[in-house]
Symmetry: C2
Subunit: 395 residues, 2 copies
Amino acid sequence: MSRMIMYYRSALLLLAFLLVTGCQGLAPRATGDLGLVIERATGSVQIIDTSSRSALARIEGLGDLSHASVVYSRDERYAYVFGRDGGLTKIDMLLQRIDRRIIQSGNSIGGAISQDGSLIAVSNYEPGGVKIFDAQTLELVADIPAIGENGKRSKVVGLVDAPQKQFVFSLYEADEIWVADMRQPTQPQITRYRDVGKQPYDALISGEGRYYIAGLFGEDGLALLDLWQPQAGVKQILGDYGRGEEKLPVYKMPHLEGWAMAGDYALVPAVGGHEVLVIDRSNWQLVKRIPVHSQPVFVMASPDQRHVWVNFAHPDNDTIQVIDVASLEVIDTLKPGPAVLHMEFTPRGHEVWVSVRDANRVRVYDAYTRQEITSLEMASPSGIFFTNRAHRIGL
Amino acid sequence: MSRMIMYYRSALLLLAFLLVTGCQGLAPRATGDLGLVIERATGSVQIIDTSSRSALARIEGLGDLSHASVVYSRDERYAYVFGRDGGLTKIDMLLQRIDRRIIQSGNSIGGAISQDGSLIAVSNYEPGGVKIFDAQTLELVADIPAIGENGKRSKVVGLVDAPQKQFVFSLYEADEIWVADMRQPTQPQITRYRDVGKQPYDALISGEGRYYIAGLFGEDGLALLDLWQPQAGVKQILGDYGRGEEKLPVYKMPHLEGWAMAGDYALVPAVGGHEVLVIDRSNWQLVKRIPVHSQPVFVMASPDQRHVWVNFAHPDNDTIQVIDVASLEVIDTLKPGPAVLHMEFTPRGHEVWVSVRDANRVRVYDAYTRQEITSLEMASPSGIFFTNRAHRIGL
């Protein structure tokens, strides 16, 4: 008798324990205010909550995360982390664990998610090309080797998503831009633009998904493709943009995806120079050069387009400057600490998160007073990516 | 003995049941692809999932939902539904139930959530004013009676959020626009703009939160406040915009929040006329009049700004027309059915959800082929609101 009671009592306790802990582990929480911080040196990421300004969990085992970037599923539950070593890791932000992980190539440089959220594209250096995966299963759907007109396989850079289930990317050695129409996922329809300029090295797409702009490493100027007029082909714009006649020493080629589209202007980092360039978006002409602290890397507009925050290349990378878009002048200089690598605005722009790698901290600033609100300890933080990117084109 | 065993057995079964059903009810799910559809006639809403294109739950008891609108908490978990009868209902999208509900006035007309997500503002007709609530608890934080220079209490319309924790709204009888700075929530700082034009009846704010534009019922033209230059005051623009000399019969004053900002243009519904007006945003001048099916109500740009979808006033409200922004011409006419009341694009614009009230259906269209993908049965559906609005200014 007493044995049976003991049996029941144990089972009861176990179930009660499961009920409390199991359901606690699954306590409902939403995903609109989450994000990931890349911890490059340790191959880990931290899931952060921008409402409580806290770290929720560290996830390890993501491989080489130099130059890593992140996109999100359309429900904001899953993060896709693109590693430098060809690793593609799908993270479950709610269960705080790796959902799936594959090594899809030897050397990769970023990715994108299709407009409908069904496909993940990864751009690869080695072997050069784009691979397309099912977003749920990470099974290979299509493989697009980047063989240009020169017959050689090229590194792929500047991969972005575009409306109508397209991906757009550039072939570094082939001087080409390709548009892949993925409406039939297993049969990509490729449109190739040749001789777009020498060595496209990175690209961006404007927020509405219309203008694809590639930077050129091998010559000055930029390559522009208007996706509303694809038949017009690729045009070169801003002939002065680049390293110039003298081939200025460039400590870090600026990221193009950091271009700030604010009002009528695009604010872009000069290559090599200590300037942010202001370009009129209606004719892509240079309007003004704004002198800044050093060589700019990311030039990021706030969601209200009122300010542009700029970080800088080594060795002057302890600084952020803030440009007022109305006056096109620097209005503030911050010193977050050694190696300011990335900035991310909260979705509606009330705060800015800043990774300060060599201080092992992510600092959170009020976007308007520019006072530090708090900071979080992170291991060599680099990229910061919030889930609201799920809802935006070209990120 | 057997009684004790029976006791334990019952408790065991109960706990096992709780474990299975309780945790099932709490199965983790994200919130980035959710939305609400207003069922006006029955005072209910349905929670929908735009990934599976399905309805998840109906929530009842929300009172009078004519002209209801919705904003979302910054984590995309809670919806705030503003009812016509002064009801403010906070819905938990994950637990699929009413979290809190108050009757905050006798007659209200919409609301907004502050940039940081901490405050909910509601604009009221009776008594005229704005009430500000704590977003978590729905406790009253501030009460702003709308007493204009004429000394009388005015109906409040066109309430929107703006950057730096501001709310902007218009006083219908007092011909005023007010900006409330809520950085000290219990002590709103109000800036009043007087004589902005006769009877502002609705308003919008541009996507970056810079331009507040109010429509005028009592005269032609629009009132424009540039929040980057508040000291410049309110200007009247588009002097021809309105009902005109002849005071055309207007079956429904068009919604201003349906204005489409696409590229360099704003596309706006003509008042009374069978036209969509194209306005150059750089100087607010009329560029073109596009003839359309009937009197337009909502004129909504797709997230890629490539197309503008237009619905129409009674009795011609069985139709949608689609304008191509590149050519500024109507390129398609759809007939979703009787009483097309609202349209909502998925966040990156691959699909459009359309409420067809008198068919008791919400139809889901491919935004590009414009083919119907599926439809959902709903009771007299009107407004459709997706959670990605949480991340946008002025919605």
